[in-house]
């Protein structure tokens, strides 16, 4: 069972409470597809991903970025039970989508960078630590059902 300090709990709630999901989700996913181009392997039916501009303007990427972020919001609402909350999503990513779990870490890093850029100086070292702990737990929960 994950132990959250009050600071960590408040930090995560605050970040997601103030976040524009429709901006951050698409920005994080498109950045991941651009910076780590091999991640495009999972999006063969998304149309034009041939360059950064195409990826950033691609409506399917944007829609999927929002979907991914809604998944994270689920974890924010169930911070004391992320593992159980994500059981089905983990099975989905393992059995159906067959996503190499290393990709979760790549997306998490891109999300950290997007959130850092939006928050500026408010994204202090301690806030970064809390945010990355949260993402590490989400990633771990997504990996759990792989076998």
């Amino acid at each position: 069972m994950v132990q959250w300090t009050d600071f960590e709990r408040q930090t995560i709630q605050s970040i997601f409470g103030k976040m524009d999901y429709d901006d951050v989700g698409p920005a994080a996913l498109s950045r991941c597809l651009i910076v780590y181009p091999w991640t495009q392997r999972y999006f063969g039916n998304f149309g034009n991903l041939s360059n950064a501009a195409a990826i950033q303007g691609n409506p399917k990427v944007a829609a999927h970025g929002k979907t991914v972020l809604q998944g994270l919001v689920l974890a924010v609402k169930n911070m004391d039970n992320i593992k159980a909350t994500f059981t089905e999503l983990s099975v989905l990513h393992s059995e159906k989508l067959r996503v190499d779990p290393d990709n979760f870490r790549l997306l998490a890093d891109c999300l950290t960078i997007v959130v850092a850029a939006r928050m500026g100086a408010a994204f202090t070292a301690d806030v970064q630590g809390a945010f990355q702990k949260f993402l590490a737990i989400v990633v771990c929960s997504l990996c759990r059902q792989y076998h």
Partner: protein, 143 residues
């Protein structure tokens, strides 16, 4: 994942903007790493104060960013150019090379905060590749 001519020119152009704030970026990246990845503190047991903004962190952050800035000019031969630093890290400091990736990530986060408009995905990929190549060159002499 070698550096293309385009990667090099993107890094050089972006570093033109970064170099004025290099000390600040270095200090902040190091402070973030020590806070968000506490296992990295094990390499700095001699420092009295490991908090972000402390004197040793500021000083050492500037040293690191200075070396990275030099490496921008050495991109055509990072292994050769970083040979002495690789010796230092391999035989004296003995930093586990996994930590180069961690520090690189924190440099990227710091750059995103200080240059939100300039740190586009295209710049991000070029700088990430540069830091990865630099890390590999730094680890060259390890074994």
């Amino acid at each position: 994942m070698s550096l293309t001519a385009k990667d090099k020119s993107v890094v050089k152009a972006f570093w033109g903007k970064v170099s004025g704030k290099a000390d600040v970026v270095g200090a902040e990246a190091l402070g973030r790493m020590l806070t968000a990845y506490p296992q990295t503190k094990t390499y700095f047991s001699k420092w009295a104060d490991l908090s972000p903004g402390s004197d040793p962190v500021k000083k050492h952050g500037a040293v690191i960013m200075g070396a990275i800035g030099n490496a921008v000019g050495l991109m055509d031969n990072l292994v050769g150019g970083l040979s002495a630093l690789s010796d230092l890290h391999a035989f004296t400091l003995r930093v586990d090379p996994g930590n180069f990736k961690i520090l690189s990530h924190n440099i990227l986060v710091t750059l995103a905060i200080h240059f939100p408009r300039d740190f586009t995905p295209e710049v991000h990929i070029a700088v990430d590749k540069f830091l990865a190549a630099l890390s590999a060159a730094l680890a060259d002499k390890y074994r």
